[in-house]
Subunit: 672 residues, 2 copies
């Protein structure tokens, strides 16, 4: 059987390639006969029938249910070794196919009159950048997104299983790519980097030393809207913290312990947090409008690859699809996941108490015989605790992913929401519990300030290391190996790698897992700044500094460390907006409590502590009410964009009306 398989292999693939040409070693310099956009890597033990079938389905015409894309096998690399996977395929498409795909995915592009409209092939000449045949109309990221969408919506017809793999069952309407992915036949599918564009982008992004805004439009052009919104938010957040940082500096320099001033700082802080979050919504709406994602309709969401259940009919689409009872999922969420999260929170509390015991031991040790070494020892528990927190966050993250996977959510968005919620709550608790304990149980403001500083600085250093330098170092090692391998075979005159090597190099790069961790980091930093801002005004300065380096290290890792991610047409930062707003609500409560507890404020209410607390609570409630009213009063979308959106809607309504009137008059004419 084995030898048989090997015999038919070449023939089958040759057949599938259509024009009968095998792309082998020759490809490494000349490349395929189309611009390769996306790489599909199948497992090396995939049967030849399966490969031939997959390729033919990808190539087949749309009216036959195919994806009508171009696909070729990648030839072996220069240093072709036994362990190299031969089943790498390059996917591309004709210009015409990409344009019709752009219409299918509902891409919004700028028109000649400056408005954003859904692209249609019929009206293509109304669009601003459409020149000639429209060769440069779609950028590479858009093309790759379209190809991804076309591959994802490639559905089984009447196949009961993947040819050659009887265990990989199919049924009419099942997305082929998703099934291959969940069964491990499809190892990965990723878009290729555009070397030229990447070089230009990285130069304007992080290689310039001069201070300037990030090239958001270029980032969006290369990575898509989701990434660009993250970097936009990072930049916005950094600038928004600058006033807080500036006000914080004199507090630190002159060692102002005057709580009158702290009160002013805290109140400014709270109002500022609310205002910047509201203004971000407006700013992000402007960006999303400019990028055409604000009014873009979401396509119907398919079940995620890992979703399983008994086969049935989807009540919405009427398509055959696995169904999983919602009640069962709810049971899993409330009876397993929720208790697990609570247990983890308890564990985190327990570890926190150990930390405080350690802190106590060290302190007593230092008090007995204070030397230089015991002075240094004082910092050890905090640092250990900060490291332990990071490790716990990491472990919990895996557990949360496992649990959320097990909860078996039908939609990727629902999976993401449950994962974010789980991770968010634990991280929040883990990072801030000790600070809450110090602030409100021990009521030790000096220790609070010290702990806050230690935690903030340690976690910043750890993060930068884990996030950028470590992966970069690993990637660099891999790069060098590959370059050495290529150089072994031939003298490299051009600095660029041949395509086959470049593809294999990118295939080996780490996969970027989305903006989750980046947002989470910002969220925790926001917590450090806002929750206890009135005790440690320097926090904002540290966070601003961190964010500036973060921009560079994130940009660097996106350009050099990771595979290019598929663009994700986001219109806002989603659940994170909510998370940041929740944090700013909690910040109002903690800051009011801290101010109420301060000795200076207490001095005003010597006669009655009750009066003090009542005043604090009253002011807190007023601030909360004020925050909600402010949120309500500031419109989420700027006026000029509201008008543009209203105009679009009005025009479509009018067009519909006109069309109906025309149809009616046509009808009456034919009846006459």
């Amino acid at each position: 059987m084995e030898s048989d398989g090997r015999l038919t292999r070449g023939m089958l693939i040759q057949g599938a390639l259509g024009e009968g040409k095998m792309l082998q070693g020759s490809l490494d310099s000349s490349g395929p006969r189309f611009t390769p956009l996306v790489v599909v890597e199948l497992a090396s033990d995939t049967k030849e029938e399966a490969i031939a079938w997959i390729l033919s389905r990808i190539r087949d015409q749309q009216q036959n249910g195919g994806a009508e894309l171009l696909v070729e096998q990648l030839g072996p690399g220069v240093g072709a070794q036994e362990k190299e996977n031969p089943n790498m395929f390059l996917v591309g498409a004709t210009r015409q196919r990409l344009l019709s795909g752009a219409e299918e995915v509902g891409l919004f592009k700028e028109c000649n009159d400056g408005s954003m409209r859904g692209f249609t092939c019929a009206n293509k000449h109304n669009f601003k950048d459409f020149e000639g045949d429209g060769d440069s109309f779609l950028n590479m990221a858009e093309c790759q997104y379209i190809i991804k969408h076309e591959l994802d919506t490639l559905r089984a017809k009447d196949e009961t299983h993947v040819p050659g793999h009887t265990q990989v069952k199919l049924y009419p309407g099942k997305s082929i790519i998703r099934r291959l992915q969940s069964k491990g036949i499809l190892i990965q599918i990723f878009p290729l980097h555009g070397q030229e564009e990447l070089k230009r982008l990285s130069f304007s992004w992080y290689k310039k030393v001069k201070l300037s805004f990030q090239p958001l439009d270029n980032i969006r052009h290369y990575y898509g809207e989701g990434q660009a919104l993250y970097f936009g938010f990072l930049e916005y957040f950094t600038f928004a913290l600058v006033p807080m940082a500036l006000i914080g500096v004199p507090y630190y320099l002159f060692d102002w312990e005057d709580y009158d001033k702290y009160v002013i700082f805290a109140v400014f802080n709270l109002v500022w947090c609310t205002v910047i979050l509201e203004l971000w919504k407006r700013f992000s709406a402007s960006l999303a409008y400019r990028w055409g994602t604000l009014s873009r309709k979401k396509a119907f969401e398919e079940p995620r690859p890992g979703f399983h259940g008994t086969l049935g009919f989807n009540p919405v689409t009427g398509r055959k699809e696995p169904l999983y009872p919602n009640a069962k999922r709810q049971l899993r969420v409330y009876l397993v996941s929720l208790p697990f999260v609570l247990l983890c929170l308890y564990l985190s509390l327990y570890i926190m108490m150990i930390y405080f015991q350690m802190e106590g031991w060290v302190l007593s040790f230092h008090d007995e015989e204070p030397t230089f070494w015991t002075g240094i020892l004082m910092f050890i528990p905090s640092i250990i605790y900060a490291v332990v927190i990071e490790i716990m966050n990491l472990i919990y993250r895996y557990a949360a992913e496992f649990l959320t996977e097990w909860e078996n959510h039908r939609l990727e968005s629902s999976y993401q929401n449950h994962l974010v919620l789980k991770v968010l709550v634990f991280n929040f608790f883990n990072c801030f519990a000790s600070l809450f304990y110090i602030a409100f149980v021990m009521q030790d403001m000096v220790l609070l300030r010290q702990s806050l500083a230690t935690l903030l600085i340690t976690s910043q250093i750890l993060n930068q290391f884990m996030e950028a330098f470590l992966p970069y170092w690993l990637q660099r090692r891999r790069n060098k190996k590959m370059i050495r391998k290529v150089q072994k075979r031939r003298t490299v005159e051009e600095k660029e790698l041949p395509l086959a090597e470049q593809v294999r190099l990118e295939a080996d790069m780490s996969t970027y897992l989305g903006t989750f961790d980046d947002y989470l980091e910002l969220f925790l930093l926001f917590g450090y700044v806002s929750l206890f801002s009135c005790t440690y005004p320097l926090a904002a300065v540290l966070v601003v500094l961190n964010n500036v380096t973060e921009v560079y290290s994130d940009a660097f890792k996106m350009c050099r460390v990771f595979k290019r991610p598929f663009s994700d047409p986001a219109a806002n930062i989603g659940v994170w907006q909510l998370a940041f707003e929740a944090m700013s609500v909690i910040a109002i409560v903690t800051n009011c409590a801290l101010i109420g507890m301060s000795p200076q404020v207490k001095a005003y209410f010597t006669e009655s502590e009750t009066q003090l607390i009542l005043w604090t609570v009253a002011i807190e409630h007023m601030l909360l009410a004020f925050k909600f009213i402010l949120t309500f009063l500031i419109p989420d979308v700027p006026k000029h964009i509201q008008i543009k959106l209203a105009r679009l809607e009005f025009e479509s309504l009018e067009a519909l009306k006109k069309k109906k009137m025309l149809e009616a008059s046509d009808l009456s004419k034919t009846m006459e």
Copy 2:
């Protein structure tokens, strides 16, 4: 000129009637040659040219910019007198015109497969109740709504002013009806009651003595969705209060002063309030889905009749329209309206303080020589205060309407929101300020209970009187006059009035000003129940009793006292949902505070008042957080309706895709 005018009058109208028949005395028995649906009353001093022009515009074909409706003048009544206005017109439409109008307004109707879809003439036979020519497909309220819409969108062509009234300026695209209305030429436009249907409805609604749900579908059928949602909410709210009332009764009967029990009652209350408001959203979504308003698209909103400004071009529609700078409006809102409201609130506080002084005088008077009369005197200040509150609310209402009108809002919805906000805040303050003062400043729970009871009962009695009995009595007097007048002329065998009399009778009826006052009343009652529920558990019982009578009196006044209102295709109770939710948030704060202040709870914290307050605040915050999480967790639309909506959207997406593919293949065929 006068005699000239009178001479041409008959001729002009005769011309406008098209077939040259004058409808006069003969109409009262035979009626016009179509079902009259809507009455348009023009001022008696309207020039003949103007009338002829208006009628011709209403009758003109749609392609000429007319409304293509049927319209006839109402003949004089039986007791025709000098002062009777002759310019009353009956408007109707052909069946075909009504169906095409239904498509234009985007009416949703039930299909054969049970789903709700937008009606289109092309697919008319797919709709469930469409039989034969579709004579009974649209109900009377829908027909009247369509006619109203067609009249409202009747636009000026190139007229510069209304013929015969040079001061009534027009410009292309201006809604004629709105201009006539704002200039006082159009006195009123109202739909006719359907006597048969009204009789049936009123019988099943309030004339039956047996306990049953209200016939919501019939109410919606007759009055439209906005009214039906109000009555649905009234009924839902009443049933939702029953458990609270049942639990409250033993507290009153056994005089339980045990605060442990009060705490349980209050906590139950708070959770209950949140849950019922969330469930109402779901229930209202079900109703709105069944009535076809949930997914119905809102038409583009025209400026309200009273809106004025310099003529310019609307940035959305491109139509000529008055424009008024938003900044100017904001200035009026923040520099005039806001200070005015604050001043009124201060005034209300001032009057409250006078009340407490009066209360003090009476008490001291009673304490000096307690007699039976001084005992009765004790109640006088509360009753006077309750009456004064109602009067102040009434006066303020007029002021708020004037101010909001003066703010010159472009849209009716924006006008309504500003008005509701103004009235809501003042009414809330006016009704509850004294209770807050007694509860939290005087901390006198006995007085609080007494005041709550007095205020609640007095305002209930006043409301029922002002709302139903007074208008009914006035209407009854008018009715009798009319019947006497008719009887004078001829012996009335049939009990029904002739059409001309019926129309004039309805024209004289009071105009129903919308659900505003009804919701406001419910809102205040909800406040009485929820804000201080733990001191007066009987409040729920009183409110339930009030609501039961309210159903009857509101039903009665809708059927007998008021002109029929135009139906209003509402999908929810709008801003009132928000208002009720805000009230339930405030209720959490007040109830926690009340419980914290109770002597029984204080007894637990004898050693430290601080501890008590901290606990109270902590529990309050937890309850608030719990409330928000609950609001977040309970989906606003029931699952099965979500699925139906998703299916509709999916189908339209698929249809669009299929259409595009067909067009593409057509194109390629023609190119071959």
